[in-house]
């Protein structure tokens, strides 16, 4: 077992084990924190596909996170109020069934990202960073000023959505749902990054001219990676909204995009479990530093700065060595 595999095992075991212990010890908030780590980690895993493997620095992934959240909010609010979502051409009711919500979130994020990526991928480098930000800002201002679903106030869903056979209001059961989805996605990502597509994606990041000369249209590879990445982040958004039983435009703000990037970098760009490690560290910092003083964000800034300057490659980069092409 190499060091990265060992580190990955430890990370997943800790993420699964700590909530179980907390459940036995009657500390439900620890479970909530772990759920938050799992969900933000999932969002980061999505971003990591575009950012880490594809080299597509998206400063607009909050848009997909938010769209996933709104997919949950809109469907659940209609189910809650017993009003149909649409009456034409067919009547579509709302729903509070998680699998349906997840599917909607994934599709909605996928569609939005398809449009955004199709336009944005014409640019490179900083221009790409900024055009993705521009699209996310459009989504953000749209959500703020669109009154139908709460505008800036957001949407409160008073009861967490249902998953057949589970009591999702029980923190540990909801955690289990999120953790399972995280593990499934990680497995999927491991297949994808090791596949022919994954190989081409990483080659495209490092040497697009070569890949084009080999007869592959890098635009399509990037497009697919970006859409897939947005779909995972969208799913995470739906879960995050369910965790908070609340969705608002702040999920689409540029600070949120920044946080997602921070999470990926903290853990280690392009590493399978980097985002999970990053999310863990970020949530812990946020929770622990708050106790030091009102000005805790200074310390958060200092820690982040230290990581960039001295712990290159993030937490996993410090622990492990070079990434391999099929890792």
């Amino acid at each position: 077992m190499n060091r990265e595999t060992l580190a990955n095992t430890v990370i997943l075991a800790a993420l699964a084990g700590i909530p179980v212990l907390a459940h036995l010890g009657g500390e439900p908030f620890v479970i909530t924190l772990a759920t938050r780590i799992a969900i933000l980690g999932l969002a980061g895993v999505g971003l990591n596909l575009a950012l880490g493997h594809g080299g597509l620095v998206s400063f607009g992934h909050a848009a997909f996170f938010g769209v996933g959240g709104y997919a949950m909010g809109v469907l659940a609010s209609h189910a809650q109020a017993w009003t149909p979502l649409a009456t034409w051409p067919v009547e579509i009711p709302g729903t509070n069934l998680m699998p349906v919500i997840w599917l909607t979130a994934i599709l909605a994020a996928g569609l939005l990202s398809l449009v955004i990526a199709a336009l944005s991928l014409r640019t490179r480098g900083v221009y790409f960073i900024m055009i993705t930000l521009a699209f996310a800002q459009m989504a953000y201002y749209f959500a703020i000023s669109w009154p139908a679903y709460g505008g800036e106030d957001g949407l409160s869903i008073y009861v967490r959505n249902r998953f057949p056979g589970l009591n999702t209001l029980d923190p540990i059961q909801f955690f289990a749902v999120c953790f399972t989805l995280l593990c499934l996605t990680l497995a999927l990502m491991s297949r994808i990054t090791g596949s022919r597509f994954g190989l081409l994606l990483q080659a495209t990041r490092q040497n697009p001219a070569r890949v084009e000369a080999l007869g592959v249209q890098t635009y399509r590879i990037r497009l697919f990676a970006f859409v897939l990445s947005a779909m995972v982040t969208g799913l995470a958004g739906a879960l995050y909204a369910d965790l908070n039983r609340f969705v608002s435009p702040s999920m689409m703000s540029w600070q949120m995009s920044g946080e997602l990037i921070v999470i990926v970098i903290l853990g280690g760009v392009g590493r399978a479990l980097g985002p999970v490690a990053g999310a863990g560290l970020y949530v812990l910092l946020e929770n622990q530093l708050g106790g030091i003083s009102d000005h805790w964000q200074i310390f958060l800034g200092a820690v982040l700065l230290w990581v960039v300057l001295f712990a290159r490659g993030g937490v996993l980069g410090m622990l492990c060595d070079r990434r391999s092409a099929d890792g």
Binding site: L119, G125, Y127, I129, M130, F135, H295
Partner: protein, 305 residues
């Protein structure tokens, strides 16, 4: 709708654009020369505004305040460059984004720690606090006219600096070939610190000028930062001319959009829907402008591939 109102709004758009330009000029200079994405540029804007407010409150002189804002922002810029930024030139954009994001947190909370949570008082100097009558019967605040003039002076000053001075020659050389000018014996570290400090000072000046019109508060830099990024991307990164034209384009689009869109929608929607829809679209307008520019010109209006 009276023509004079449209002209006045266009003037407002120009003035807003010039304000953004002061911020964007430093950003694009830093990006062009060092290839650095500096999210913390908004923090220098804030530093300038706070320094100006504090000095003006202590001395009663707005001019001293302006001087203080330049000095404080330049000093903060130089300090940050030496302590942090110079380790980032060789890194990729991701590391730069994260590090400067961290700097925002430190600057914002640090400022709040020093000055408290409440906004500071800073007003336009008495001599400029009046309206003037422009040809065509438009009454316009003198201070805003002065801001437009200062902005255009800074633009030409920068142009002269880059094209007519020894420092500018080095800056241009540094843009095209870093190793070469280092080989020629130019102190590249010193040059970078100087450029970074100049960029920061410009942002500080913008903060002070704008601070007199707005609220001097923690976090005031971030909205302007986003605007400045929009501007330099539209104009083409590294191009001062692009930044100026991009700024004015953004200023005009935003101001006229806010003003005209609700009335335009009023032609075929009922008033409240038109206001809501028009305002919503107006807030997205500059981002739409940026996306459209990038779709047709992926390197901005004046960028090089």
């Amino acid at each position: 709708m009276p023509v004079s109102l449209v002209i006045e709004q266009a003037l407002n758009g120009l003035q807003f654009g010039v304000m953004i330009f002061l911020m964007a000029a430093g950003l694009t200079l830093i990006f062009g020369v060092m290839g650095l994405i500096n999210l913390a540029h908004g923090s220098f804007f804030m530093t300038g505004a706070f320094a100006c407010a504090a000095t003006a409150a202590a001395t009663g002189s707005f001019l001293l305040g302006l001087a203080a804002s330049l000095a404080a922002a330049a000093a903060a810029g130089a300090l940050v460059e030496v302590a942090v930024i110079r380790r980032l030139y060789a890194r990729d954009h991701l590391d730069q984004v994260l590090a400067t994001f961290a700097l925002i947190l430190i600057f914002s909370e640090g400022t709040r720690w020093l000055f408290g949570s409440f906004p500071l008082y800073l007003d336009v100097p008495q001599a400029l606090a009046r309206g003037v009558m422009l040809p065509g019967g438009i009454q316009y605040p003198l201070y805003r006219l002065v801001v437009i003039v200062v902005g255009l002076c800074v633009a030409s000053g920068l142009w002269l600096l880059i094209h007519r001075t020894r420092l500018g020659m080095r800056i241009r050389a540094g843009e095209s070939d870093r190793e070469m000018i280092a080989a020629l014996g130019v102190n590249i570290a010193g040059l970078y610190t100087a450029v970074f400090a100049i960029g920061a000072a410009l942002a500080g000046l913008a903060g002070a000028l704008v601070g007199a019109l707005q609220s001097v508060q923690v976090g005031m830099g971030e909205p302007v930062l986003i605007l400045a990024f929009v501007v330099i991307v539209i104009g083409g990164i590294g191009s001062i001319r692009g930044a100026l034209i991009g700024s004015i384009l953004v200023g005009l689009t935003d101001t006229l959009g806010r003003f005209l869109l609700p009335s335009a929608f009023g032609l075929f929607l009922d008033p409240s829907a038109a206001t809501a829809f028009g305002s919503a679209l107006a807030s997205m307008l500059i981002y739409i402008l940026m996306a459209v520019v990038l779709i047709f010109r992926p390197n901005g209006l004046f960028g090089v591939a």
